[in-house]
Subunit: 729 residues, 2 copies
Amino acid sequence: MLPRGRPRALGAAALLLVLILIGFFLFGGDLECERREQGGPGSFPCSLTPRVPPDGDLPADHGGCNRSDCVPLRPLPPKCELLHVAMVCAGHNTSRDVITLVKSMLFFRKNPLHLHLVTDAVARNILETLFHTWMVPAVRVSFYDAEELKPQVSWIPNKHYSGLYGLMKLVLPGALPPALARVIVLDTDVTFASDIAELWALFAYFSDEQVIGLVENQSDWYLGNLWRNHRPWPALGRGFNTGVILLRLDRLRQAGWEQMWKLTATQELLTLPATSLADQVWRSLLGGGGQAQGQGEMAVSAQDIFNAIIKRHPGLVLPLPCIWNVQLSDHTLAERCYSEAADLKVIHWNSPKKLRVKNKHVEFFRNLHLTFLEYNGNLLRRELFGCPSPPPPEAEQLQRALAHLSEEDTCLEFRQQQLTVHRVHITFLPHEPPPPRPHDVTLVAQLSMDRLQMLEALCRHWPGPMSLALYLTDAEAQQFLHFVEASAVLSARQDVAYHVVYREGSLYPINQLRNVAMAQALTPYVFLSDIDLLPSYSLYDYLRASIEQLELGSGRKAALVVPAFETLHYHFSFPNSKAELLALLDAGSLYTFRSHEWPQGYAPTDYARWREAQAPYRVQWAADYEPYVVVPRDCPRYDPRFVGFGWNKVAHIVELDAQEYELLVLPEAFTIHLPHTPSPDISRFRSRPTYRDCLQILKDEFHQDLSRHYGAAALKYLTALQQPEAPQG
Amino acid sequence: MLPRGRPRALGAAALLLVLILIGFFLFGGDLECERREQGGPGSFPCSLTPRVPPDGDLPADHGGCNRSDCVPLRPLPPKCELLHVAMVCAGHNTSRDVITLVKSMLFFRKNPLHLHLVTDAVARNILETLFHTWMVPAVRVSFYDAEELKPQVSWIPNKHYSGLYGLMKLVLPGALPPALARVIVLDTDVTFASDIAELWALFAYFSDEQVIGLVENQSDWYLGNLWRNHRPWPALGRGFNTGVILLRLDRLRQAGWEQMWKLTATQELLTLPATSLADQVWRSLLGGGGQAQGQGEMAVSAQDIFNAIIKRHPGLVLPLPCIWNVQLSDHTLAERCYSEAADLKVIHWNSPKKLRVKNKHVEFFRNLHLTFLEYNGNLLRRELFGCPSPPPPEAEQLQRALAHLSEEDTCLEFRQQQLTVHRVHITFLPHEPPPPRPHDVTLVAQLSMDRLQMLEALCRHWPGPMSLALYLTDAEAQQFLHFVEASAVLSARQDVAYHVVYREGSLYPINQLRNVAMAQALTPYVFLSDIDLLPSYSLYDYLRASIEQLELGSGRKAALVVPAFETLHYHFSFPNSKAELLALLDAGSLYTFRSHEWPQGYAPTDYARWREAQAPYRVQWAADYEPYVVVPRDCPRYDPRFVGFGWNKVAHIVELDAQEYELLVLPEAFTIHLPHTPSPDISRFRSRPTYRDCLQILKDEFHQDLSRHYGAAALKYLTALQQPEAPQG
């Protein structure tokens, strides 16, 4: 393989020349290149190394690379190598950030990934559900309990409890599995604009001594000259930003990392004055403070401690090219980095203002970020060609089930929709669980974008906890977020849990949505309502009192019926009492619900008796009865085979009756349905000829399953079954 | 720079070893690599060259690359080099495809682009408007008239007229500017999954003789052994696919390309039998037929002719790596290409089934394609850092105007919305312009997703031409497309033009939408309606007759008023005549429009007089009057400052009155407003405290502009102006 024959030196020279020319020709415009005289492990290519001159000024060619003295450097790890990524995540808002970050990572990745997530209980609950339902091939997720790690960092002074989470980056070498040698650690406020494998490949440049890869800070915070007596923690020049870290865990453990950082932190804390509040505001605006966690900024950040250690042991750090952590705080110096680069790799929103940060190119960066905020995460469920990446077991099961469906099946579309596993993001917005109360009731409902305007009214009518499933695209979820932020009524409520179920398929999966909302209700009872119904103002209190009086807690199996009415007018003044309601009913301004189109759905409630009733009364199940009911949280789920519109509530009431729930009508309870334009979905599917045929098939199958499950007791449902009526919404 | 000192040979050997090791370590998994013994221009790296063995079998390692004998090859063109791309595009559907392709290209690109589009009149109209309003920095678009090029290819036999467009790829060397030396030619059914600059960089591998870069066909069509007497056009082995072409235009011109292809085509046509219809079906399913254009498949495709030329002159072609044109026809052999590649570059949907093609990995490819179908094109309006890419002049003007706005302005959000330039995709779906008729009327309206269900009813009520502006996101535009395809009523109508205006900003730009729809109306008169109104069944005929009788064509300046009513019930049977309407009105089932909330909006129509009227009667303008009117197409535009909800129609009627249009009420005309849930937008903005303040400011400014424009004549509007009333929708 080596050049042989006489003119060896000449051959070598020629070869070198050819290589230089190829490099010049092919890679001239590329940023990632290496100044040959600097090459080799332990130092970084060309001027991409953040030099740290004493005056803190970046060299003019920072981020650029002079063509003629470069050879190409575009490392990638071996195909299919498993890459490890660690993040610390706590709370509802940070969980949303993590998902956006992961979407950007998955969009560009071509390698299998293992995510190591240090989480509080809230984030774990959200992310576990999300990844479980997302079913992305070749992504493994491990969770680590932040609670267990707290004692290791809680001695460090912190203004806010939440600051502790930021410090947990320090304890990763001990917290992650001992066999794990390398990991990329990310703040949750970064966005990828490239394949993370390129970042992973930079591990190859670590010298034997180096253990941490970091990008220089793009703010002047650590220079300590922002004002008189400005005394930041010690750092080399501008210091390093810890939004993106390459960690050699194996070496850190060997080098006694735990002692090292604890000693450094202790010593610095003894000599440094307490940081003032004004300092905190400044540092956060300048992005000098490490990752912001929730509302509070840290008094001491992991970044401070990392920098103090590096100041003492400069040999530990491999400076990384600035494009791997472009920091978008106010007054950032990031432009010196990206103005030369066609190719940004990672954007870091390290300002508390996030997307509202002032930066003349912020539009560019915002567009990148919005791309992944709005990106349809379902599309990331794609295999990695050429890597053995067995799909998650659930995904395989699903594939088999889908493969079993016949193309000729009248109900093909319905069955596909039933089998669809929707990505679910529970508690999309901050939420406080209600205090445990034995008779408390959660209102459960589901909606899509076209019913958002019902939320404020619903909040005014129902002061108690709610669990709402929202069927949205990723882009709509962002619109929903802004909708809530813009509403004083909605922002004020912490007891409304919004669960986003991501859209997929052509039919509205109404019962799957109801089941998601019901499963997330945290009170012992649930009021199973619909989004177009407004409960009477007193219903929440009245239901809790009724539950107590009827002693449902002591094992009495009952479903409390809330009589439903409807108005056909869209300007409507809501009755304040049963008396007012009856007056409107008599005046013809209100009707009993669906009395014209679907009388059997509500007639068994016996509205005539209800008019006069002073006490709860029992009614019997009848075919097609579908009242709105209050039931224990652990009641049967809705049958997910009923998708789109039709028979979805009826089947649930049958199931309750089969399980011998008493149906008790409450004399003072009522709820009123408001008019709305039929959704395009309803119009479309009702007009299809196969729709009724298929609904009949699904009903038959439902009855077969009932017989199988309840035996002879289920016979009454079959005999009660009449000719199919108009499907109901 | 060369290694000096005694052990020069040793140094050279060591250097080589290091380079091999670096290559192995860093680039081992990468596809784009070069077998050193094959390197150099004119041949293609490693086994990526589609070898063409006589048996037509692909080598086992096709698409792969043995690590140990590779050195890295990741060419990119110089930073900021302008790349040229040519496409042939005809008709409505292909225009949509082009936009998706361009979105994928822009997503990954880092270079300025110049698009050369050969178009028919329809595509030019669509794409010119689209690119003009898209305002993407560093993208230039040139149009070439397909009509002018037709004579050069129309002598080639074609089953369908549309087949001619496919053949136009042959005449590009003559059609494109003489100074243009290189161009990438693309079929409209490809999707990029990488930076097009990497494709452009492959020009560097052309030998002096080579003029065309192509990927091998991934079907067996040209092998000619599919059935007895299967006689495809001649080709080398499997032949080459022309979905992605690198053309050295300069050399083609020098080499006398025009004569070459015409001679080859003529000779082959003389010797080949006519292709049977069955052949056509097969070849199209196998993706052997070049680009499908509209309904028809070509009898002879540009691909046939390219292949016949290459068979005669194999030295002209540089075979390209298969990843640059992964062909997803049925029975494709593409898997042999992509199963080895982590990194697909271009996907080619060369089957008439497009996304419904059968392929076990189709889900993967569909997800890539859907990514760009749904991608928010607004996010591609991003500058290229480090390249001088002056934004289009309109964009600069816009930036200046936006910069002038004050953060303290009460109306900031309104003014930003007014200044927003929305991407506009006119005639999103196939549309046939109405035949020119002197009294014809187009119904003009605008809507967003939540009103799609109105379209079918509207079609039933209005049998004439319509011009509708739809305010949608890119993802919603796809849902809309499926909605129309699923509706027999809508699919049957070719005279309804749908213009998609892409969403941007927080307020509904109602008057901008109306102006788009109005500008695209092609009849001499327009009926300016709203989406929630259904016209009487006879209105279309009646309006045309009235226009004729009133002799509006002869310069009489009139706006014909169509009296509006409303129902508050959402189950409603539409009156078949004025008599029926009056009966419903008397019965209290119908009201005159907005008589409760906004009487001054419609009262000047004088409904009492209308009851009895037998002939058109003139009414006077009054403050806040906002009737639905029929006007000549060239009437004043709507004032775009009124965004969101309020005073948007009122201002237009003022403008008509100021320009001395007579207001003539038609005695038999009527239209009825159906109830709907208020949209979230309305609820949100009506509840804002600044909303009314700002509306008042905008009204004041409107009146100032009126005075400036019409002088003393505009005084009456100012004096008539009363206290601000509730804003109307």
